[in-house]
Amino acid sequence: MTDRRAELMLGAAAVAVVLIIVAMVVFIAISAWPSFQYNGLKWFGSGGDIDAELGDMVNAGGDPTAADYRVRAWPLIYATALTTVLAVLIGVVVAVLAAIFIVELAPPRVRAIIVPVVRLLAAVPSVVYGLVGILVLVPFVNDHLISENQRESVAYVITLNGPGVLVSVLILTLMITPIMIALTVDALSAVPRGWREGALALGVTRWRAVMSVSIRAIRPAIVAAAVLASARALGEAIMLSMVSGSKGFAPQPWDGVLFLFEPLRPLAATIAEQAEGIQAPALKASIYAMALVLLVSSLMLSVGGSLIKRSLRLGTAR
C-alpha cells in the first residue's frame, strides 16, 4: 500500500469518528427542537406535575396537539444537579483525604492492597452498585431510619419507602469516588519528592508540607478528577432509576431530615425509563430535549474544567 493511501485511510477513520459525533449532536438537537419550540424557556421552569405531563404525551398518541408538548422539567433538572453536586462535593473531600492516606500515611503493605482495590471499585458496573443499593440500603433506610410519623406527615404528597435523596447520593458517591481517588493518587505520587522535602527542610510539619506543597501542586488533577466524576454522575441513569424512588418530585431542603428520604428522579433516569414510549412524537421530542440538556451540560463541564485547569497551571507557573 502506498503512503498516500495509508494516510487517506487512517484519516478516514479519524474523520468517521468526528462525523458520528457531529451526527449525534445534530440529530439530538433536531429531534429535541419541537419540545423547546412549544415550551420556550419555560421548559426549564417548575409548575405542573412532570410525571403526569409525560404520561399525557404517551396517551396523546401519534398526533399530539401543542398542549401535549407541555413540559416543566425543573424537578428533573434539580434532581440531576442535586445528586451530582452533593456526590461530587463529598467525593472530592473523600478522594483527597484517601489519596493522602494512600500515598503518605498508609503502610506499604496496605497500599499494595488498596490501590488495585480502588481500581477495581472504579470498574464495578453501576448496575451492581444499584443492586446493592436497592437490596441492602433501601430496606435499611425504610426499616430503621424513617419513622411512621414522618411517613404520615407527607403521605398526601409522596410515599416514603426507602429510595430517595440519601440512598441516591450515597450510592452515587460510592460509584464516582474510586475513579477520583485513582486519579488523585496518580497525581500525588508524581509530585517530585524534592518539593516536599524542601518544605520539610524549612521546618514545616509533614502534614503542612503535604497540604501546602503537594495538594497545591496537584490542583489541576483534582479539578480533572472532579470533572470526570461529575460527567459520570450527571449521566448515570440506570443506577439512579433503581435507587432514587423514580418520582418527578423536587425534594425540599427545608423539610429537614425528611429531605433525605424524599424521592426524586434525575434527567438521565427519566430518559431510560421513558424510552419505551418513544413512538409518541411528543414524548420523543421531550426525551431528546432532556438528552440535549445532558449533552450540553457535560460539554460545558469539560470546557469549564479545562479553563479552570489552565488558570491553575498558569497560577502555579508564575
Partner: protein, 329 residues
Amino acid sequence: MSTAPTTGGPRATPPGRRQRLLGELRLWRPLDLLGVVAAWTVGALLLLVAASLLLYMGIKGLQYVSLDLLITRPQPGADQSETGGILDPILGTLMIIAIATAIALPLAVGAALWIVEYSRPRWLARVVESGIEVIAGAPSIAIAIFGLAIFQLPIFSWASFSAADGGGVFGRSFIAAGSVMSLIALPSIFATTREALQSVPRHVREASYGLGKTKWATIRRVLLPTVKPDIATGTALGMGRIAGDTAIIVLLLGATLQLQAGSGIPGVGTLQGTGSTLTSYVYNNSPTGEGNAPEKAYAAAFVLMLLIIGLNLLVAGIGRRRAGTDLPR
C-alpha cells in the same frame, strides 16, 4: 498507577521513627492533627467499604451461582424455580463485547495513528481530538438515545426487525446495541494508543526511515508492534466499560430474556435479533424490574464482577509484563 512508587510515600521504617513521629505530633496544631485523623479515618473507611462490598457480592454470588444456572436458558415465569439460568445473558454480553470491540478497535487505532503520525491539516486534528473528548464525556444514556433514533431510521431496517404491517423499524438488536456500544470503548482505546505512540521516540522512526522504509511500512512493522501492549490495555479497559454499561443495552437490545433471532438466516438472524446481557438481566431482576428475582440478579452480578475482575487482572498483567520487558529508550 499501581506501579512501585518512585517518589513520595513512606520509606521503610527506621527504628525509633514511631517515637519521633509521636513526639513531633505533640507539637502539631490541632487542625493539622484533625486532618491526619480524617485521612486515616477515610482510609480505614475506604478499606472497610471496599471489603464489605466485595465480600458481600462474593458471598451472595457463591450462594446463588451454580453450574446449572450458568448453562440453562432463562425462561419467563412467576415462580423463581422456573425462570431458568443466565446462559443467554452471558452469551449476550460476550456478543456485545465482540461486536463493539470489532468496530471500535480499527476506528480508534486508525484515528490515533493519524493524529500522531500525520495530523494534517492541523485544524482537523484538533477537531478529531476534541470530538473524541466529547464522546468520552457524553452520558451513555444520551449516546443510547441517539443510537435508538438512528437505528429506527428506515435505511437501517436491515439491522433489526420491522413491524409485520410495514410499520416502524424496531431499532433494537445486537447490531444496533453493539455498534452504539463501540462509542463507549472508543475513547479509552484511542487515548492509550495515542499516548503510547507519542512516547515512541523520534529516533526509532528515523532509524526506520533511514533503512529505506516508507512511512506506512514504519507504522506497520515498527510502531504497531511497539504499541501493541498499550492497545491491548486500552481494549481491555474498553471491554470493561462495555460489559458494565446498562443504559445502551436497556434501550437498544430490547431486553428480551432469550436471544431472539430477527430473521430466519442463522447467525445473521441472531445479530438482527434482540436479547439481554448480564447488566440488563441484573437490572430487570432487581426489585425495580419486571422479573424481581434478587437471587438471580445476585448470581448474574457475581458473574459480571468476575468478568470485570478478569479484565482488570489482564490490564495489570499487560502492564507488569511491559514494565519487565521494556527496553530503555
